[in-house]
C-alpha cells in the first residue's frame, strides 16, 4: 500500500529522516562492519587481511576468532571478572548514591540546584587527571594495582551517573504517601522499604544501566589503577586493536560484549516490568 505524501507525512519525514540517517550511517553500518570484521582473518601488519590478492579472492569468512575465544578459558574468565567488577561497582554506587540523592531531594528547593551542581562538578576536570589523583591516594595505602583500587576508581568516576537518575526519581515522590503510610501504622523502616524503595526502582534501574554498561567497557581505570591480573574486557579489546593488531579478535570480543550486555539488559527489563507495575504513574 502506498501512502499519499501529504504535508503532514512530509513534515514527519523531514523531522525523523536526518536522525535516522545519522543512526544508520554511524551506528548500524559500523555495527555490521564489526560483525563482518569478526569473521575475517587478521592482516599481516594489522587491520584485516585483504580480500583480493593479485586479483584473486583469497580469504573466505572464518570462525577462527570465535574458536580462539572459546578455546581458552582465560577470555571467559576475564569476561566473568569484568561482569563481577561492574556488578560490584553498581551495587556500591547504589549504596553510596541513595542516601546522597535522598538528602538532595529532601533539601530546600533553593539548595537543591547547588547540590546537584556539586555532584556533576567532577566532570569539569579530565577523567585521566582524576584517576591519576587516585594513584596518589592509593599508593601510600598499599592498595595501588589491586582489584580494590580498580573498584574504588570505578565507583568514584561513575557515582554521579547513579546519583542523578536517583535524585530525579526521589524528588518527584509525593510526601503525602509517606504520611499516609505512617498514618496507617508504618514505622520508619517499613515506610522506606514499602513505599520509598519500590517507588525508586525505576531510578535505581536507569542509574544501574548508566553505571554497569560503561564500567564493563572501561579500560583507562583498570590500566592505571589495576595490576596485571586486573585486566577487563575493555583492556582486552584495546590490546587487540592497538598492541596485538588482531582486529578480527578485537571485533569478536566487542561483539560478544555487546551480546552479553544486551542479554543483561533484556533480563533487567523483564525484572523491571514486574516491579515497576504502577510506578510509571509517578515517574
Amino acid at each position: 500500500m502506498i501512502r499519499k505524501l501529504n504535508p503532514g507525512n512530509l513534515a514527519r519525514w523531514a523531522v525523523t529522516l536526518p536522525p535516522s540517517l545519522f543512526l544508520v550511517v554511524f551506528f548500524l553500518l559500523p555495527a555490521l562492519i564489526v560483525v563482518a570484521a569478526s569473521l575475517r582473518e587478521p592482516g599481516e601488519f594489522g587491520g584485516l587481511a585483504p580480500l583480493f590478492v593479485g586479483g584473486a579472492f583469497t580469504h573466505a569468512l572464518t570462525l577462527d576468532s570465535y574458536r580462539f575465544f572459546f578455546g581458552d578459558t582465560i577470555y571467559l574468565e576475564i569476561f566473568v571478572k569484568s561482569f563481577f567488577i561492574a556488578l560490584l561497582t553498581t551495587l556500591i554506587c547504589i549504596a553510596l548514591a541513595y542516601p546522597l540523592a535522598w538528602l538532595i531531594a529532601r533539601s530546600p528547593k533553593r539548595r537543591r540546584d547547588l547540590l546537584v551542581l556539586l555532584v556533576i562538578l567532577p566532570f569539569a576536570s579530565n577523567l585521566l587527571i582524576r584517576v591519576y589523583a587516585w594513584i596518589l591516594l592509593l599508593g601510600p595505602l598499599n592498595l595501588l594495582y589491586t582489584p580494590v583500587a580498580v573498584v574504588a576508581g570505578m565507583v568514584y568516576v561513575h557515582l554521579p551517573f547513579m546519583v542523578l537518575p536517583l535524585y530525579t526519581n526521589l524528588e518527584k515522590h509525593d510526601p503525602a504517601l509517606l504520611e499516609a503510610a505512617q498514618d496507617l501504622g508504618a514505622g520508619t523502616w517499613t515506610r522506606f522499604w514499602r513505599v520509598t524503595f519500590p517507588l525508586s526502582l525505576p531510578g535505581i534501574f536507569s542509574g544501574s544501566a548508566l553505571v554497569f554498561i560503561p564500567v564493563l567497557g572501561m579500560f583507562a581505570i583498570p590500566e592505571l589503577l589495576g595490576g596485571t591480573g586486573d585486566l577487563m574486557i575493555g583492556n582486552l579489546i584495546k590490546e587487540q586493536f592497538l598492541d596485538n593488531r588482531d582486529w578480527p579478535f578485537g571485533a569478536t570480543l566487542s561483539l560478544l560484549l555487546t551480546v552479553a550486555v544486551l542479554l543483561c539488559a533484556g533480563l533487567a527489563v523483564l525484572a523491571a516490568k514486574k516491579s515497576f507495575k504502577g510506578t510509571e504513574a509517578v515517574t
Binding site: D183, L199, G278
Partner: protein, 361 residues
C-alpha cells in the same frame, strides 16, 4: 466519657496562632465536621489529632488517655487525605491490605477483611487494579476503604470530596452518610463547603481565625447562628445594621437607619441602644405586589432590582427605601408557568416577626 476531648489546644506558627485555645469533644459514633474558610485552623487540628503536628499548649485525650508523645503510626486514628495518597505501586487490594499488614493481622484475616471492605465501597471487581487505572470517584472509595479497614477509633477526612466534580460529590455525600452509619466509626470531617457540612454532619464546629465561632447541630447553626460570621458563612442571609429600640419579654423592636422599625422575637434581656445586625434568611421573606395584602408585621416597600429565575425558586434582589438590597427566595410551588415580579416592579417585602434574629455586636 467523650471519645476525643480537645482541651484548650493552641498551635502557633511564629507569631501566627493557627489554632487559638480551642476546646471541644467528640462522642463515639458521631459524624463531626470542622468547617471554616481556608486558613481557619481546621486542617491544623486534624493534623494534630493524626499526630503529624503537636499542640503548643493544651491536651488532647482519646478514650481518656492523652495523645501527647504517641507517633502517628501508633495512634488508632486513620486519615483520608485530600489527594487520596494511594500507593501507586500497590493494587487496590494491596492498598487496602496495608494497614492490616502493619497491624500484623494473619493472611486469612487480611484476605477476608479486604474482600469485605471492597464490597462495602462497591469495588469488588477492582481489587487487582492499580490506582492510576481508577476514576476519581473510585480512588476516593479506595482511600475510604483503606482508612476504614482496620477499624480505627477515629477516621479523619481532610476535604475528601474536594477533588471530585459537582455531581459525583453529591453522590459521594450520600455514600459517606450510609457508610458511616454502616461501619459506626466516628468521622471527623474537614471542609470549607458549608453545604457539604450541613448535608453530612451530626454536629459542626464553625471555625474562623483559629477559634471556634459556634459548635452546634446543622439546623441550629443555620436557623440560629450565634454571630455575624456564622450567619454569613452558612448559607445566604440578609444582614441589616440595626439598633435596639425597645425590648419587652416577647417582642423586640429594632430600628434600621432609613427603613424604620423591625419587629423581632427575642427573649434575651436587651437594652435599648444596643447595636448589632438583624439576620434574615432569604427563603423566609415573601415578595408581594403593592396591592396584594399580607397579614405580616414587617412590611417594607421596594423595587425589584435583579431577578434570577432558577426553575424551582426565583431569587430576587429588592432595593429598599434606604438603598439596602434585600435578597428573597420565593418557591415556585404553584403548578404551570411560574409567575414572578419583573425587574423594576414596585413590590412589598414582608416577613413574620419571628423570622429573623438579632445578633449583638
Amino acid at each position: 466519657m467523650a471519645l476525643l476531648e480537645i482541651r484548650n489546644v493552641t498551635r502557633r506558627f511564629g507569631d501566627f496562632k493557627a489554632v487559638d485555645d480551642v476546646s471541644f469533644s467528640i462522642e463515639a459514633g458521631e459524624f463531626f465536621t470542622l468547617l471554616g474558610p481556608s486558613g481557619c485552623g481546621k486542617t491544623t487540628i486534624l493534623r494534630m489529632i493524626a499526630g503529624f503536628d503537636d499542640p503548643d499548649a493544651g491536651v488532647m485525650l482519646l478514650d481518656g488517655r492523652p495523645l501527647t508523645g504517641i507517633p502517628p503510626e501508633r495512634r488508632p486514628v486513620h486519615t483520608v487525605f485530600q489527594s487520596y495518597a494511594l500507593f501507586p505501586h500497590m493494587t487496590v487490594a494491596g492498598n487496602i491490605a496495608f494497614p492490616l499488614e502493619m497491624a500484623g493481622k494473619s493472611r486469612d484475616e487480611i484476605a477476608r477483611r479486604v474482600a469485605e471492605t471492597l464490597a462495602l465501597v462497591h469495588l469488588e471487581d477492582k481489587g487487582g487494579s492499580y490506582p492510576h487505572e481508577l476514576s476519581g470517584g473510585q480512588k476516593q472509595r479506595v482511600a475510604l476503604a483503606r482508612g476504614l479497614v482496620n477499624r480505627p477509633r477515629l477516621l479523619l477526612l481532610d476535604e475528601p470530596l474536594g477533588a471530585l466534580d459537582a455531581k459525583l460529590r453529591v453522590e459521594m455525600q450520600s455514600e459517606l452518610i450510609a457508610l458511616q452509619r454502616e461501619v459506626g466509626i466516628t468521622f471527623v470531617f474537614v471542609t470549607h463547603s458549608q453545604q457539604e457540612a450541613l448535608a453530612l454532619s451530626h454536629r459542626i464546629a464553625v471555625m474562623n481565625r483559629g477559634r471556634i465561632e459556634q459548635l452546634d447541630e446543622p439546623d441550629k447553626l443555620y436557623g440560629l447562628p450565634a454571630n455575624r460570621f456564622v450567619a454569613d458563612f452558612i448559607g445566604k442571609i440578609n444582614l441589616i445594621e440595626v439598633e435596639v429600640a425597645a425590648a419587652s419579654k416577647v417582642l423586640l423592636t429594632l430600628t434600621a437607619a432609613g427603613l424604620g422599625e423591625i419587629a423581632a422575637a427575642d427573649a434575651r434581656p436587651l437594652q435599648p441602644g444596643e447595636r448589632g445586625c438583624f439576620a434574615l434568611r432569604p427563603e423566609l421573606i415573601r415578595v408581594y405586589g403593592r396591592k396584594e395584602s399580607a397579614d405580616l408585621k414587617n412590611r417594607f416597600d421596594g423595587r425589584v432590582k435583579e431577578l434570577l429565575y432558577l426553575g424551582d425558586v426565583t431569587h430576587y434582589k429588592v432595593a429598599l427605601a434606604n438603598g439596602f438590597l434585600i435578597e428573597a427566595l420565593m418557591p415556585n410551588a404553584a403548578p404551570g408557568r411560574a409567575k414572578f415580579h419583573e425587574v423594576g416592579d414596585a413590590v412589598t417585602v414582608c416577613w413574620r416577626h419571628d423570622a429573623g434574629i438579632f445578633l449583638r455586636d
